[in-house]
């Protein structure tokens, strides 16, 4: 359990009624937006378990949509997001499902626009969240750190090639996780860093041989 601070106790300022079902939903949407990067044209949300059962009463659906459209947890416009001009250019829908294998408060987000993307996430309590999947890759993104996500061919030396570049930029690594489908196939690297990254590093990483995809996800300010 992460140690709470004074601010965790007397904040956040948020739109009610529930930190996990409302604020958590906004943050899930917002982090999905940071991952997707461009304006979504179509979004399908699938809410699971408690999110499906109590989501309407808790404004979970509104929160998810507001987040993906860039609103913060304390934005009064969340309540009327369905009727607001902010949401009129996006085609959105909601599905509700039960699945005991999933976290009680979890959601799949399918986004379409200049590309297709599939994102899954959980609201893990007190407004904290975890993005658990991006397309076919298992990840673990809390939104609390600036994060680099890299998909590459699994082979020796990839981790050190990347960390060397960060070291050269004097960027401190808070955590590093790797995952792969099978030896020698696609692998993913998730690096949480302590200070923001300048964009040239991302293209340098992109240029490493056998790196297929790199994205930089800014942390949530809230």
């Amino acid at each position: 359990m992460k140690k709470s601070t004074l601010f965790d106790i007397i904040l956040p300022v948020m739109v009610g009624p529930s930190s996990s079902h409302t604020a958590g939903a906004v943050r899930l949407g917002l982090l999905a937006r940071h991952i997707y990067k461009t304006e979504p044209k179509k979004v399908i949300f699938t809410l699971y378990n408690s999110y499906a059962h109590t989501g309407t009463g808790h404004g979970t659906d509104k929160g998810l949509l507001a987040g993906i459209l860039g609103l913060g947890v304390d934005d009064r416009r969340i309540k009327d997001i369905f009727n607001s001009s902010i949401s009129k250019n996006v085609d959105y829908s909601f599905n509700y499902e039960d699945n005991f294998r999933r976290h009680p408060n979890s959601v799949d987000i399918e986004i379409d626009g200049d590309k297709k993307m599939f994102i899954s996430g959980d609201s893990v309590g007190a407004g904290n969240i975890l993005i658990t999947q991006i397309n076919e890759f298992k990840v673990s993104l809390s939104g609390n750190y600036d994060t680099i996500i890299i998909v590459y061919k699994d082979k020796p030396g990839m981790v050190s090639a990347v960390t060397k570049m960060l070291q050269d930029e004097n960027v401190n690594i808070a955590s590093l996780d790797c995952d792969r489908n099978a030896k020698g196939q696609d692998a993913s690297m998730i690096i949480c860093i302590d200070s923001p990254l300048n964009s040239t590093v991302i293209s340098d990483i992109e240029n490493i041989k056998d790196v297929y995809f790199v994205t930089y996800v800014e942390k949530l300010g809230i």
């Binding site: 601010f7 007397i10 739109v15 009463g57 509104k62 007190a126």
Partner: protein, 293 residues
Amino acid sequence: MDRNISTFKQLCEYCVSSKKNIYEIAQYNMAKEADISENEVRNVVMNALKSMKEAISIGINSNELSVSGMCGDDCYKVKKFYNKNHSMFGPLFQKVIEYALATSEENIRMGKIVACPTAGSCGILPAALISISEEYKYNTDDQLNALITAGEIGRIVSAKMALAGAVAGCQAECGVASAMAAAAITQIRGGNIYQILNSSALALKNVLGLTCDPVAGLVEVPCVKRNPFMAVFAITASELALSGVESKIPIDEVVDAMAQTGALMSPMLKESSEAGLATTKTGLYYKSLICKK
């Protein structure tokens, strides 16, 4: 300086040896933790305080119901009653009741509130602190000191257990909010460190074992009405402590008891809405109306 205070005993010893108040230690540690100045810490807390007042001023003039339709017009009813009748406990009491309802009703109608410590318990601390500050004309600095003191109480409790109904029932949400509110008002009325900690211990002991069994799984019934009750308990605890009444069980041990009680409580009574009020005949009836899917 000690940045790793995780028990009330440590906090108390440190307050005494350094001759500092709880809020001074708390804001110093928060500044170090977030790598900002103490002034910036106070600015953040100021924003929370402002948002609390805003929620009250908007909530008190609304009778809009929540999406479920179960709650939202209780503050309105109470205000109307107090327009003609006076509370037997006087004007301060009226304010406490109104402010607690105003805030928690803002929460359920998706208004902007401060989750202090949680959204379901958001009306308790503001009701006690702001109504007393208005009635006795405490200035903003005093209010900030009180709010930071309350935050430090919540922080130390949360070092031992998560402040979540799903983990330990409502004692961990509204109960802790009540203990924090007691500390805030004991601080603002000039109580010493012992009195502050005593007030929190007394408030917490009063609600050990409190279940979390919200109807239809929504933070509405019994949550909204629980807020004014808990704010009043906080004032009771504070006045007892200020008169020198002591909790026979020290606060650290009360928190241990709460954590143990929470662990022993059935999961059915911890936010899952599988028992208690949620599964009463009427609770289930409301659920059937709300959850049509």
